[in-house]
Symmetry: C2
Subunit: 100 residues, 2 copies
């Protein structure tokens, strides 16, 4: 759990939004075509559309969030679904409050 890496990942409006969207995907995304619900998270294409970022930047941002351990990727067929890593977030919030 790297606080600095997490803070850097969350020091960007779009990446913060992505984390918020992933909190409640039903409210922010239309259903996937090949998967029931958002149990695995949301695929890169949907985040690309929703954010207005280029596809490559969207993918890159997700990899930054993943590197900070804030999201968990699952590859299914052609798609990579990303969901929140609530365990990391919980440790992060606790650690911040205790340490900083």
């Amino acid at each position: 759990m790297d606080i600095i890496k997490i803070n850097a990942a969350l020091a960007n409006k779009t990446r913060l939004d992505i984390m918020r969207w992933l909190k409640n995907p039903d409210a922010h995304f239309t259903p996937h075509i090949s998967v029931e619900g958002f149990g695995m998270g949301v695929c890169v294409g949907k985040i690309h559309e929703k954010s207005g970022l280029s596809q490559s930047t969207a993918s890159h941002y997700l990899s930054i969030l993943q590197d900070a351990d804030l999201v968990i990727p699952t590859r299914i067929g052609k798609w990579t679904y990303y969901k929140r890593n609530d365990a990391t977030l919980e440790s992060y919030f606790n650690e911040l409050r205790k340490e900083v």
Copy 2:
């Protein structure tokens, strides 16, 4: 309370350390010469010494923390003392937990 600005301010090891040091100045700094205790916070020179940063960078970093409303400056004589802004930190922790 600007979460992004705060995250950016805290996405740097030295600035995170400064916030930690300011939590308990007695444990990290030798006493001031012209002021009793650390009620007003810690002067720039001490942070410059402790951090190993140049004087100008130390001053700059403190201004970044101040811009994020994380510290409160008090000028007394030649010195500017910086102390934590615990009100902002409390809102920040709460907001992060609620919103992100």
